[in-house]
Symmetry: C2
Subunit: 288 residues, 2 copies
Amino acid sequence: MLEYQQRIQAFLNASLNNLDVPERLRAAMRYSTLSGGKRFRALLVYASGLAVNAPLNRLDSVAAALEYVHAYSLIHDDLPAMDDDDLRRGLPTNHIQYDEATAILAGDALQTLAFEMIASASSGLSDAQARSICLKLAVGSGQTGMVGGQILDIQATNHQLDRRALENVHRRKTGALINAAVICGALCGDHTTESQLSGLSDYADNIGLAFQVVDDILDIESSTQELGKPSGSDVENGKSTYPALIGLQKSKKLAQTLYQESIVSIAAISDNTSLLEDLAKLVVERTK
Amino acid sequence: MLEYQQRIQAFLNASLNNLDVPERLRAAMRYSTLSGGKRFRALLVYASGLAVNAPLNRLDSVAAALEYVHAYSLIHDDLPAMDDDDLRRGLPTNHIQYDEATAILAGDALQTLAFEMIASASSGLSDAQARSICLKLAVGSGQTGMVGGQILDIQATNHQLDRRALENVHRRKTGALINAAVICGALCGDHTTESQLSGLSDYADNIGLAFQVVDDILDIESSTQELGKPSGSDVENGKSTYPALIGLQKSKKLAQTLYQESIVSIAAISDNTSLLEDLAKLVVERTK
């Protein structure tokens, strides 16, 4: 896992250095993309790609694209008009470190760059692969997926959602991009089957929901220092959470069930699923 | 021209109606995409596509993508942290009509939707075309193009730029997307030649710069009512302009020269360049 974290870090660093871009914008784009993070979405791309024997150079570009979309979403989510967060990964958020206008534009440019990376010849993808990956990434990150989930999340603030509505928010807000990461990695393979895609999609949906349930649990149980962002912010911000809805113990059990289902989903797809399994474990065992 | 304006309006309307998207987000996306505008970038896609005999259904999707990127950029440019404009096309700007968070997200989602439109099978594009159009649109709208130009524009506020620096701002901020519109239209053709692309690119660069020169002139000579946005805002906001740099009469002459060069650029590309010519004329003769 560490090997691929270092690999994507080096790739992102080189890719952002090579851009033709005004320096202040580059600095803001680098700041939020390179400053830590678990690289969870990039790792999912590699893990899924390795499971279907996809070449590493293609996975680099696609993993970078997913990280760019994730970084853009964090920058925009942290803005004063949105979650108004000053701290992210233990550092000032982008609009605190730079300014709001720069943060908005850095987010905008990172989104564009994600699609540029995939469509560029240097990705090593075939035309059909580049197209299907662009489409999957767009559906996962746009109005149907991540951005749609973000607006539902804002609308739900200070309303207690029922379980079905809460799951709909999460499936869009975080689940859709996690699904896109796993599927885009698999689409880098030259011989990926429908049955593999189906198993991987189930895997992604299970760990995507587990990721959010664990996030809700950590927001209660961890300290601000451990999280690198304010703990207890869900309650303070009037967010619906799994612990509030079904209780803390049942939330922990739900995370375990989702983990086990994710492992079952990929049991038959190939012999090379160890990184996928490690990542599923990480989702439920992480402490920040 | 009117025919294609009506065509893209109907296409955008249907396309936004068919989305799977939370209603408030759809409303904000529709508000800024459908509320008037000259549809200049869409018209450029059709005009360029017609010049190379591209099928109309492909041009619809690509023209819509350009309009989505343009709409997203206007929404974000109008935000309080950016140009802080309350009025656009005679109507309240998106963040005034809705709220800042919704406006940021509507812009984000419109950008994503642009790439989704192109990559989708319903665009009728081949895989190679979809890929090259995604790439051209990304380069024109991202850090190298439009967003890069926007940050240069912000940095240049209250500094008098020399002509070369001002041209660099405009080539990125508005020229790159105009060039992308023209080239993306041409890439919808099945037999587009390098020589056609080269002539069309020169055409685009000339009208792109003319567009900005005329914008600067109109900001001085037109009323707020005619423009549908505050006139005199360049001076008030400390922006460098062509009239300030080279004088009003020389600015008008420059616009004419750029117009004539744009016509020369496309003289040899095909027999079907009348819409391209009409659009170049519109750029220099428009009054708002």
